[in-house]
């Protein structure tokens, strides 16, 4: 195994990890505070990708595309919260799963009506295309590096907001005891809307950054969504710290598995068998990881305290 390849895959894993974190942070907060299972979180990721791509092409400016895409997703998120999800908070998980499943069908089809069923082409901004020379002669795409930087910056920002500000205090209080926070005179409805909008914008950010390196098409959100579920289950539902750790672990395990499992298996079993077993095992790896974590710690790695 050569070092440059290993370094490159580590960076890829990190990049996948921060993307997963951006999605997981919103989802885990929405669950922790509102006790809402939101399957439609992946739809917000898709909406972010589409809006940013559309505005970038319309305005010709990447920064403007990002800005409009983000605020667009924020608005869509708030509208969804106000119209459909608000009545679901008191319902059981079953109703929430089904209603948000309905939302997924709705959004996928709506996007297909607006932009067609086939993938649209999302371009990378010229300033961020190209490669940079890193240590050891490794040339790494600038865009992916930028994703890592943005992701880590958002993680720091979240840590500051949740851990050090009044809003964050309310969020943490809400996650451990909603009824008590409401009883203390906090406008809990407003808090819910703010948190949901916040989560939607983060999902939108992940989506618009993913646009140029993955495909932008209806249903793109669901592929990521299930991986994000794995992340928040491993991390412990409701815990941002857990989501961050688990996102990096899942990102690394998935990337490394896809890159190195086949050659490693080939050392032990016959190359032909490794050809079949390698990719199959690699795509199952994170689910096996989740099963292993849950068998040892049923509440995830960092269970959030409180009820």
């Amino acid at each position: 195994m050569n070092l440059v390849l290993f370094l490159e895959q580590t960076l890829n894993g990190l990049q996948l990890g921060v993307m997963l974190f951006l999605m997981a942070a919103g989802l885990t907060l929405v669950f922790g505070i509102m006790n809402l299972v939101n399957l439609a979180h992946g739809s917000l990721y898709m909406v972010g990708a589409y809006l940013a791509t559309y505005f970038y092409q319309a305005t010709g400016s990447f920064a403007l595309g990002v800005l409009l895409g983000l605020s667009g997703t924020l608005v869509v998120g708030i509208v969804v919260e106000l119209v459909a999800l608000r009545t679901l908070y008191e319902r059981d998980h079953l109703d929430q799963v089904l209603a948000t499943f309905g939302l997924i069908l709705f959004f996928n089809e709506l996007i297909a009506i607006l932009w067609g069923r086939s993938a649209i082409f999302a371009t990378m901004p010229p300033e961020l295309s190209g490669h940079v020379e890193l240590i050891g002669g490794l040339r790494y795409p600038l865009y992916r590096l930028a994703i890592i930087v943005v992701g880590l910056a958002v993680a720091c920002l979240l840590w500051y907001v949740v851990g050090r500000t009044r809003l964050g205090m309310l969020i943490r209080a809400g996650a451990s005891n909603r009824t008590m926070v409401a009883a203390l005179g906090v406008n809990i409805r407003l808090l819910y809307t703010v948190v949901f909008g916040f989560g939607a914008a983060l999902a939108g950010l992940a989506g618009l950054m993913a646009g140029p390196i993955h495909v932008v098409q209806p249903g793109m959100g669901e592929l990521v969504l299930i991986d994000v579920f794995v992340v928040i289950v491993i991390g412990g539902i409701g815990s941002i710290r857990g989501a961050f750790a688990a996102a990096l672990i899942v990102g690394m395990v998935d990337t490394m598995g896809r890159a190195f499992l086949k050659p490693m298996l080939a050392l032990v079993i016959s190359p032909v068998a490794a050809d079949t077993a390698g990719p199959a095992l690699a795509s199952m790896l994170i689910y096996l990881l989740m099963a292993a974590v849950l068998a040892v710690r049923p509440e995830g790695l960092f269970p959030s305290r409180g009820s």
Binding site: F101, E222, L294
Partner: protein, 320 residues
Amino acid sequence: MIRPRTWMLVAIMLLLAAVPPIAALFAQPFYLDLLRRVMIFAIAAVSLNLILGYGGMVSFGHAAYLGIGAYAVGVLAYHGIDNGWLQWAVAIGASALVAAAIGSISVRTSGIYFIMITLAFTQMLYYLGISIEEYGGDDGMRLGVRSQFTGLIDLNDPTAFYYLVFAILVLFLYLTHRLVNSRFGLVLQAVRSNEARTRAIGFSPYPYRLAAFVISGAMCGLAGALLVNQTAYLTPEFMNWTRSGELMFMVILGGIATTAGPLLGAAALLLLEDVLQGSSLLPKWVNDHWQLYLGVILILVVLFARRGLAGLLPGRERND
């Protein structure tokens, strides 16, 4: 005393039994095919209702067993083994084994963890199906020969196949009815209503829930074996997570923890899909984007029709 609700169910079953001659009379074989499909999904929904409705375990991965049942038949047929008894026994056995493995981890958890774990395990099996090129990968493969029950029944005969599915559906409806009203079923329902009290009167919930999970998986495995014979095509799409969502929706739409619910739900959803997709009475923009309307209907049903279709039937379900 026979309750009105039982009469209703009997009437529905008689109606289903009368479909083949009526379809033959009007030369509409399409409806035979559609209703056979409805009944196969009803069998899957009945199995899901056992754990979701009576057991309170919200499995978001029930499509896994549809897939395993289908793969058992498809893979054996691919290797030239087309004996139906063997194929279906493997379908049921393999589903039960996988359900035992998934259940042993997931049944320990509850609530949202249970939902996500069952979803993730199904996703794992879905990716496994996609990555095995030998059996068609993500394109799937054709089922060359339907399951053979030499001398007994020929599945290539649409009517005979229809009545076989019908018989299995009746059997499963009866079995679940007996099961949920047995001592086992009562403990299962007690755990759903109040786990702490059930423990307090001396029952350990885990074995009961796990057993229900395995029975449900095995039943759904048979539905998978039927499904692959119905489509004559094996594809990992059987295990797609949207399929699990549809099965859940069937159970909710029909009315959870009711005997007739899963059947009504399966019929309502599949017929609704068929109408939205293909009905010439609806404008083309509805036909083209039927999923949009299905999504909205789904949300409205969840928000407003809380007791499902079975709630509209006369009388009260004893198992409420």
